[in-house]
């Protein structure tokens, strides 16, 4: 259903994404890993059409995505929700309004500017919030919420779009381990229950291993690994991260069970 073909993005001299080719035939939960600057965000932004590709193409169910312009492009964006590391909510607005922003594309500009959302949308927004366990926060301002709660609001906004694909750009990078787990669990559950495709940039190996059906590794803009979590050995990970022999997976871990043994392991490292 999703076909990415030699997709390339250049910023001046710098090639951020270099001829990436990915084929996805059924809704899967896919993790993209790679170190900082590998091009993960750039790839996702091109998928959502937040930025234009320099070369190559994206097709979804036969439709050429890279060629879309104007309203058609926005329509694609409404079908392909995106979640950001910094949540990217409107901090001074209340939670329900933020979730309702997921319907902007379907409603007239004028109506949305005057807050004229249909009641059914408002109710659905609250149901989605309830599904993510934060319905009580509905009337609060987004900025008053904790990071984990804000990210769940962002997921709710994504669900409000009722998208075929959910893209998530390091959704847990600014969260503490407890919240990270809640958010990843939510994404997985959405994938499983609704059958939506989820593509998530992750900077921790173990998260990718634990939650994803398929892992893609990027390095310097190129796709250097594409396989199941099982195929992702420490050797492969070393290749992806370009690390030496001192590479320790735990150094990038944020999962809670890892953390519990962290202190001990770190102490060991000092010995």
């Amino acid at each position: 259903m999703l076909k990415i073909d030699t997709l390339t993005k250049r910023f001046g001299d710098k090639t951020a994404v270099d001829a990436a080719t990915i084929h996805v035939t059924e809704p899967r939960m896919i993790g993209i890993i790679g170190r900082s600057g590998a091009g993960k965000s750039t790839l996702l932004r091109m998928l959502n059409r937040l930025s234009d590709a320099t070369e190559g193409s994206i097709t979804f169910d036969g439709e050429e995505i890279t060629a879309l312009r104007g309203a058609a492009k926005r329509d694609w964006q409404s079908r392909c929700a995106m979640i950001f590391q910094q949540f990217n909510l409107v901090p001074r607005m209340d939670v329900v309004s933020n979730v309702l922003h997921g319907t902007l594309n379907k409603r007239s500009t004028f109506a949305t500017m005057f807050n004229l959302y249909p009641q059914s949308d408002i109710h659905r927004a609250i149901e989605i919030l309830d599904r993510l366990g934060i319905a009580e926060q509905a009337p609060k301002r987004a900025e008053a919420l904790s990071g984990g709660q804000q990210q769940r609001v962002a997921i709710a906004r994504a669900l409000m779009q009722d998208p075929r694909i959910i893209l998530a750009d390091e959704p847990i990078a600014s969260l503490d381990p407890m919240n990270a787990q809640i958010v990843m669990d939510a994404l997985r559950r959405i994938h499983e229950e609704d059958g939506r495709m989820v593509i998530a940039n992750l900077h921790t190996l173990d998260t990718a291993r634990r939650y994803c059906d398929r892992v893609i590794g990027m390095r310097d803009g190129r796709i250097v690994f594409d396989g199941t979590p099982a195929q992702l050995t420490t050797g492969v990970a070393r290749d992806i991260y370009g690390a030496g022999a001192d590479f320790s997976e735990a150094a990038t871990s944020t999962a809670i069970e890892t953390l519990d043994s962290h202190e001990a392991r770190k102490a060991k490292a000092y010995v």
């Binding site: 209340d94 329900v96 309004s97 500017m113 005057f114 807050n115 004229l116 959302y117 009641q119 408002i122 109710h123 927004a125 609250i126 149901e127 309830d130 366990g133 319905a135 009580e136 509905a138 009337p139």
Partner: protein, 437 residues
Amino acid sequence: MSAADLDLVKSQADALFSRKRLFAVGLPGVILAYFVYIFFAFDLPGLAQRANWDNAVTLASDSWSYKTHVTRENGSGEMEYAVEGERKGAYPDGQRPDWVTGDDVITVDLGGGTLVRLLPDRRTEVEIPEFGLIKAQAEGREITTNLTGDLPDWISASSRRVGITTPEGRVTITGSKTEVFNYFPGWELFWFTFDSPYHGHGFGEILFGDRIDPDRGNIAGAVSDWWNNAMWRHRDVAWAIGETILMAFLGTMGAAMLALPLSFMAAKRFAPVMLIRAATRRLFDFVRGVDALIWTVVLARAFGPGPLTGTLAILITDTGTFGKIFSEALENVDQKQIEGISSTGAKPLQRYRFGVIPQIVPILLAQILYFLESNTRSATIIGAITGGGIGLMLTQAIQTQKDWEEVAYYIVLIVGMVMVMDSLSGWLRGKLIGRSD
């Protein structure tokens, strides 16, 4: 969450959104209602009627074109040729535009086939393609013509006066004289008037050609003739611009110099005596509240018309404004630096000099430069009231409503002047304070 709880949250959200909607629709509604009130209070329906679009057209076309008058005194038969009908723009004796020909019968070719013939015995003929020949005979105050029936609206004829307006030009005939106006694009005589020997010569010719006026070098002569051009008066315009900028500069700087010591008296930290502080603040509020407009009026009696009066009006008002801004800046100074200086045993003046001044200088400079630019604009307006600078020239040119090309010239100069002052002050700000602040 239980279904009951969820319903509660939903109804809360519904209420929240009806409140938001009320606000989102109500605020624009109030503004709309205000606009409706204004629509009638300002009599906009009446305005549409009153608006005179002919004036707009005159203005638009006159500002980039000029007309040459050909006038015959019907009594004496004397001819006059003058740009804009002004004495200063008159053709010297024996010269006339090349679209005027003939001696007994003088033919004025307005172009497009439109011809005006000034015949002996106070007769005038106007030949207009696709309309025909109009004949007029002046006799005493009476005008007799061959015009009959319904006339098009571009002809206005009575027994005393005939006016014809075509796209090519305009003709008016009265008992005493016949006038033909021929329109051309451009600002004629902008460089040299007819009495200058350099009129009609190109730049190349003046710069590199032979000496045109035997008494003077070409460049010196041309510059002097241009500078003293009686039609466009470049010298006076330059003086007026200079006067305007002078008013802004002196007013702003003078105000800043006056406000700085006063602002110390209005800042809590430096004037512990409540009475002095309150008095100084009220003084600032007063001079600001009276406003430059009223100050110009008050000062006009004492100092008469001229740039000094405008300068003082700006100076007095801005002393209030600067005083307020400066004293606010002073209240916010960082105590640490002052304490650091104090701890070395510095004297009070030294404390101000090194503890306070370095802190407020950037704020002061930024504000002063900002006001310098905005006062250039104010000085234009104040000049129009006190009688000085480019503002007066502009208002008078607009009020007499004939020299729209001069109006256009002044507007271009004023906008240019303000923009130059704007970028100058921006550049200085960057230079003196640095980008970071």
